[in-house]
Amino acid sequence: MSNDIKHFLRRNVREVATLAIILAIVVFVNARSGGAFLTPRNISDMFTESAILIIITMGMMMVIITTGIDLSIGAIMALSGMISTTVLSAHMSLDPMIIIGIAVAVGLVAGTINGALVAYLGILPIIATLGTMNVFRGLTYLVSGGSWNLQKNMSREFMNVAIGTKFGLNNMILIALVVVVAAHLFMNKYRAGRRIYAVGDSESSAAISGIKAKRVKLMAYAILGALSGLGGVLYVCKYAAAQGETAMGYEMNVIAACVLGGVAITGGSGKVIGAALGAILLGILNNALPLLRISPFWQEAIRGLIVLVSIIANVIISLNVTKRSLERRAL
């Protein structure tokens, strides 16, 4: 039995480490803020706050595993939030589920465009999504005509999605939970998910194994788009405002969460649970900085620094792993 635990620890050393860091930060911040951190209210807030991040991180993880990246996340969120709430303001009686469905569909289309550009036109992911980021953002302004969709444009039922609870948990947390479980099953138990790992690990091997790498990439970007659409409508719902600048720069949050969660930017590796923990860790940091009375102007810089430090740390760790496996190759 203890052997099993040892194996589990060895295989999930990164996830356990992330969890340990989370606990350390929680304890530290709680002590520094005089107990304001670990109140049930704040914890619930924190997870509600992180829910959108967790949802989109699941998609970004898949894209990064295929050795890609997507900078257009924030723009997709804004576009889908804007379109869905514009529909809502015209038809207030519509069921919130339909509104969410519209947002997801918008995101899916946007993500599919990204995927097609990357997979079928062979454009570098960073260039393609830098372009679509501006296209989607521009479209958002054009759809809105410069005006905002505010609370008065949204129905009570819709607003309830973000505030309401079920089984004693906030709806957003529940949705995030469902997405994480689904992503975990998809990436570990289904062939399509394993294909994502295979393509990211070695595209040339994938070609010989008969895996259609282009289709797999398209799928990853499409999933990310759909999840961004979902995240976008939740974002709009939560803050009761959809506008041109919605979720500006959100992609950095998502990328940071992935990197923190141990998703290798070089592709091929990364775990769902790790990425989810990364998102939670980032959410906690975002929540903790104001509690520690750190100026909001610092937060951006700190986020960038976190990404930089963790990608460098990832490289150093993997260099050490290679070295150790060389040492094992006894001569």
Binding site: Y197, D201, S202, I208, L331
Partner: protein, 497 residues
């Protein structure tokens, strides 16, 4: 006998600028082990890639159990129960052994469509046990040694109960004991009725295993023989196209005093405590199997990689090049093993390739002097008898042998003392090979110290003055080329001597 399992008729395949296969025939019978032999570039790999659906043939027919089939992609071939072990490992380093074995045909639960990992690990363990291997199926393939990965590849091929298994150079990186294991597995498969296509450079593989042998040369079908009925010289003749009186130049080099001395050079995981010395005008051969560490050793000498321990002396002076740039400055130049990936910029003109490592020499004050570059490239090209219309032609338009000559020009353009040639005749046709021997001999005659790494034993014996044998990173023998036989050398590189 009943209909053949696989029959290929008049198969032709053209790549841009190369006719890789020209009207090729092939017939594989039930429960047969069929060897395909031929020199580098004979079209063997292309041939099996057509069978496995990686490439599509331009023309010709493929009959599987008497039925015409068209494979559009590897999936089609897999479905037709054809499995292949490729020359270059086609693994996924981050994924587990079990997943590598079963990729494409994972065990899936009928109701949920979910992958049944437990069953897969169990089956992987069983498959590996059949191969007498106790690898943990949960380990990522990236942490395995080359030989262990080969075993995973074999397990992958037999995991589908295929009717045809294709093995492309499966023994290239295996020790003789591991080879014997592979032979036994192959025989077991054959006795179960599987047909095997076996591609190898090694005659001993073929004589030990195959029933029939088919020879390709320059993309053409030469013939098929019963293995028992054909002698080695006849086979070589078929492969090479003439009697194997391979032409090695008359030695004209004169060996001078010590030029390079290597003392206790080690690099963790690659080679250990290597000692040797090289004299002026000497051709020092290096022999060893893939994974023996010879290429890594050469890369350390040329500054590509760095050794952990040990010293290198050039003309009595200690040198420790940290980069190729420094090594070139010291006078050590490398002709890399991967000509197209490391030696040349294929999309560039010949003259730009020639001058690349010494660009500063062509920048008079402010501007690069392209005229001078071209003139130098022309002069050096003529020195090595480069066959090209102009020095402005792209290197990609040249044949393998002429591409290699461009790399030689590149080395000649620098002021070097030691030339390290890592497999200079790899992928070069026979005629160009003897020219390259000639060049090597002439360079030695000019006073260069030449290190000549090759997997081809006859050429190593024919060209070198002295030969070092390497096995798993350790030097296992040193011989005078005039006194050693192929057999002795083989024993040394397998560390059995």
């Amino acid at each position: 006998m009943d209909a053949p399992v696989l029959e290929m008729m008049n198969v032709t395949k053209t790549f841009p600028g190369v006719k890789a296969l020209d009207n090729v025939q092939f017939r594989l019978d039930h429960g047969q082990i069929h060897a395909i032999m031929g020199e580098n570039g004979a079209g063997k790999s292309t041939f099996i890639k057509i069978i496995t659906g990686v490439h599509a043939a331009d023309s010709g027919q493929m009959l599987l159990n008497g039925q015409v089939v068209h494979f559009k992609n590897p999936n089609d071939a897999q479905k037709a129960s054809i499995a292949a072990i490729y020359q270059h490992s086609t693994s996924y380093p981050h994924l587990s052994v079990a997943e590598n074995i079963f990729i494409g045909h994972e065990q899936v639960s009928k109701f949920t469509g979910m992958i049944d990992w437990k069953a897969m690990y169990r089956r992987a363990e069983k498959l590996l046990a059949e191969l007498d291997s106790h690898l943990n199926p949960r380990r990522p393939v990236g942490s395995l040694t080359v030989a262990e990965r080969q075993i995973v590849e074999v397990a992958k091929a037999i995991s589908t109960d295929s009717q045809i298994v294709i093995m492309d150079e499966p023994t290239a990186s295996l020790s003789s004991r591991e080879c014997e294991k592979l032979y036994q597995i192959s025989e077991k498969l054959r006795d179960k009725g599987t047909s095997i296509i076996f591609i190898s450079h090694r005659f001993e593989d073929m004589y030990r295993l195959a029933d029939k042998v088919t020879v390709f040369r320059d993309g053409k079908y030469i013939g098929t023989w019963e293995v028992a009925a054909i002698s080695e010289p006849d086979l070589i003749k078929a492969m090479v196209g003439r009697e194997i009186e391979r032409v090695y130049p008359q030695k004209s080099n004169q060996i001078g005093q010590e030029l390079l001395r290597v003392e206790g050079l080690s690099k963790l995981g690659f080679f250990k405590k290597v000692n040797f010395s090289l004299r002026k005008g000497e051709i020092l051969g290096f022999s060893g199997l893939v994974g023996s560490g010879r290429t890594d050793l050469m890369q350390c000498l040329a500054g590509v990689a760095r050794a952990d321990q040990g010293q290198v002396f050039l003309e009595g002076r200690k040198v420790s090049p940290k980069s190729c740039r420094q090594a070139l400055k010291e006078g050590i130049g490398l002709l890399p093993e991967d000509r197209q990936g490391q030696g040349l910029i294929l999309e560039w003109e010949i003259y730009k390739n020639v001058t690349l490592s010494e660009l500063k020499k062509y920048q008079n004050k402010t501007v690069l002097n392209e005229k001078k570059e071209r003139a130098t490239a022309k002069k050096l090209g003529q020195r090595v008898s480069l066959k090209a219309p102009t020095v402005m032609d792209k290197v990609s338009s040249l044949s393998g042998g002429n591409q290699q000559k461009v790399v030689f020009c590149k080395l000649l353009n620098s002021e070097l003392k030691v030339l390290i040639l890592d497999e200079p005749t790899k992928g070069v046709d026979v005629g160009a090979k003897s020219q390259i021997y000639e060049i090597i001999n002439d360079l030695a005659a000019q006073g260069y110290g030449v290190i000549f790494v090759s997997s081809d034993m006859p050429e190593l014996l024919g060209v070198s003055d002295r030969i070092m044998a390497m096995h798993e990173g350790v030097i296992t023998g040193e011989f005078l080329a005039s006194e050693v036989t192929q057999e002795k050398l083989l024993l040394a590189i397998m560390n059995l001597g």
